[in-house]
């Protein structure tokens, strides 16, 4: 906790901020014990310093309410992955490894069906391959990643990261929900382009071959290909998708201190930015995809944007307020207004809560923002639950704070190799 406060048993007394100011205290308990015995009062005392002291509210961990923890990142340290990253946010640490495997379209049972229904667009995809994908193709992109399960994120909490999680047990409800949040955010943010994951096969140009009179075997295979293609393979043969890369994105939370989603998402983002896929081609003779082990031929993923998640929680001075009976609106309207005003003052929005604060707060907010090159902000997702303290105006402020956080994290992630 590292709290400098010489704590007292009563909540109303002033917490000290200097490390060497030892106020005489009525109880002999050290601050760390009071934090355990009276957690709510302890945090409240920190956040509401007396007006006379002119001190800004400080959380028990020494941060100001809108301050995030110190973040550091490192990428590419794991050798057996296509891309990897370690992100530390304060005491939290998340390791993410991305590993690519191949999904052959011949293995996909529904491939022929779905291809015939959308054949025109997939062919046009082949024609524009390598170019910047247009808007119309984006929709197709999206559905293929989703339908074929090309992104497989899994988050593991049973790493001994916190005492509550039993190692070796099936994933807890929290781990399952975090995995699904990452998956849904990967899908909705459409960060990964399906075009990066496709492995095309371009049959050789038959007419050119005939003119050059190549060896007979190659012509035979070429002719077979043409028969498969049917009437479309007239001039240059039709390109077709033979396989997809499937990205297994595994996140291990090594150390947990509240708010695991931010760290996990930042690790996924940094690892995907680090990911390199080897050059792969369809080998007709072996009927399989071969990859080149030349690192210079491998290409990075072209990610769309850089969405960054920031989480908040709301600490209320009076947590039992919601339990009390509601005042009848007509009877005491003025009173209610006063109360409402008071209530809004009595809650604090804490950015990047640690485990201690998370246990004391009911209301959680998660904002995912991104900025395009023109500096226009996109809100990709807002999730809020557990309370009523944050309204429209406060949420707008939070989005602004998240943009500040986005700029900070962007500089950290872009500084990686």
């Amino acid at each position: 906790m590292g709290s400098p406060a010489a704590g007292t048993a009563t909540a109303s007394q002033q917490p000290s901020s200097g490390s060497n100011n030892h106020y005489p205290t009525p109880s002999s308990l050290p601050p760390s014990q009071i934090a355990r015995l009276q957690p709510h009062a302890f945090l409240l005392a920190h956040l509401s310093p007396p007006a006379s002291s002119n001190q800004p509210p400080v959380r028990a961990n020494g941060r100001s309410p809108a301050e995030f923890r110190v973040t550091s990142a490192n990428a590419g340290s794991l050798t057996h992955t296509n891309g990897s990253a370690v992100v530390r946010i304060g005491d939290k640490a998340a390791v993410c490894g991305v590993r690519a495997e191949l999904l052959y379209t011949q293995d996909v049972a529904s491939w022929g069906v779905s291809k015939s229904s959308s054949s025109s667009s997939s062919i046009s995809g082949g024609a524009t391959q390598g170019e910047e994908a247009g808007e119309g193709e984006d929709e197709e992109d999206d559905s293929q990643i989703r339908d074929l399960h090309l992104l497989v994120p899994n988050l593991s909490l049973s790493t001994g990261c916190a005492p509550g999680f039993i190692p070796g047990a099936p994933p807890s409800a929290l781990a399952q929900s975090l995995s699904h949040q990452i998956l849904s955010l990967l899908h909705t943010s459409r960060m990964v382009r399906a075009d990066d994951l496709r492995i095309w096969y371009h049959p050789p140009n038959l007419s050119a071959l005939e003119r050059e009179t190549e060896s007979h075997e190659r012509m035979d295979t070429g002719e077979e290909e043409e028969e498969e293609e049917g009437e479309e393979g007239s001039e240059s043969g039709t390109s077709e998708i033979k396989a997809f890369w499937v990205l297994y994105i595994d996140v291990l939370i090594i150390s947990l201190a509240g708010n695991p989603f931010d760290a996990a998402w930042a690790a996924v983002l940094a690892a995907l930015r680090d990911t390199k896929l080897p050059r792969a081609w369809w080998n007709v003779d072996n009927d399989m995809v071969l990859c080149s082990d030349d690192a210079s031929e491998a290409k990075k993923l072209h990610l769309r944007g850089m969405p960054i998640a920031s989480s908040y929680c709301v600490f209320e001075a009076d947590p039992a307020a919601s339990w009390r009976p509601v005042v009848i609106p007509g009877a005491a309207k003025e009173e209610k207004d006063v109360q409402g005003k008071k209530r809004s003052q009595q809650s604090w929005v804490l950015a990047d809560p640690d485990g201690y604060e998370e246990n004391l707060c009911q209301e959680r907010i998660c904002v995912v923002v991104d900025q395009d090159r023109g500096g226009k902000t996109k809100v990709l997702r807002i999730e809020k639950n557990g309370g009523l303290s944050v309204g429209k105006e406060e949420l707008r402020k939070l989005v602004n704070i998240s943009i500040g956080r986005w700029n900070h994290l962007k500089s950290i992630i872009e500084a990686l190799r």
């Binding site: 050798t79 399952q176 499937v246 150390s255 071969l290």
Partner: protein, 331 residues
Amino acid sequence: MTDRRRINGPPCGTRPPVFAPATGKAAESPKRTRRSNELRKIFLKTGLIPSAAGSAYLEIEPARPLLTKPLIARSSALKLTCTVHGPKPLPRSTPFSPNLLITTHVKYAPFAARRRRGYIRDASERDLGVHLETAIRGAIIAERWPKSALEVTVNVLEAEDDRWWGNVSGSYDASWGMMNVLAGCITATSAAIADARIDCLDLVVGGVAALVREEASQKTEGHAVNGSPILVLDPDPSEHRSIVSTCVIAYMPGRDEITELWLKGDALEVALSEDDKRSGHEALIDGAVDTARRLHSVLTAAVVESGERLFSAMTDGTWTKDDNGNVEMKI
């Protein structure tokens, strides 16, 4: 049956990528460039996971670190984290135990090896857990904590290969990489237990030694007779074409005691060089003890660092080091 609590990916399964042999140059298998009694560099740090009572991170650097990351890893390092939770009270439902109950879990990360591993523990991981438990049980003074439990979790972020990646698995190939992983687990766990301030008889260190047979054409340092295996300390399985036998021990240097001994491969019939009349087993165990003794200094340094951190936290910076390096308290 698919695991419905995890995200499983395509139902028809995926295949790992197959790399085409690069034209022109054939990949060369790595050779050991260290001397036979030279260890790799080891990095050990405690206290990186504040939410646990004790924790340690261990890394063994690959012998040949590369500046650029190739697509097929040329050599692999060992990277693992260890957390210790406890001693904590046993739940009420468990029967009375006069001793500290130790549970150990060793888990490979899905990206730890060349093949993607699943999330469910397999037999080898359970095996490692049992070996690790035996190794640390001998060092902990379990009678001091009746009715309590200790939970040790090891995450292997990156494991060592069982053989060079270019070789097909041979008939007398075993999972040699596991032995190095176990030795790393023992050392890291020992550091984490000390970091959790749990009373031990001594620090347990894991050590590995192996008998390897080099190809007849190649003579290593001249003293190896063709055909007879040589003893190497801290072997990297990918650097040797055929490993005859490997031994892991957990060793307490202060008491000269071995708490765990695991020997794989047949070393009984093996004759070393002419001037060495030891049997293969004896030579292996001696070699592993030698490795462990040398790693002990690294472990001690990590534990001392952990102790210094505790002092500075307890006394809020009033402990200082004087010029002689002794810790003193300001009054």
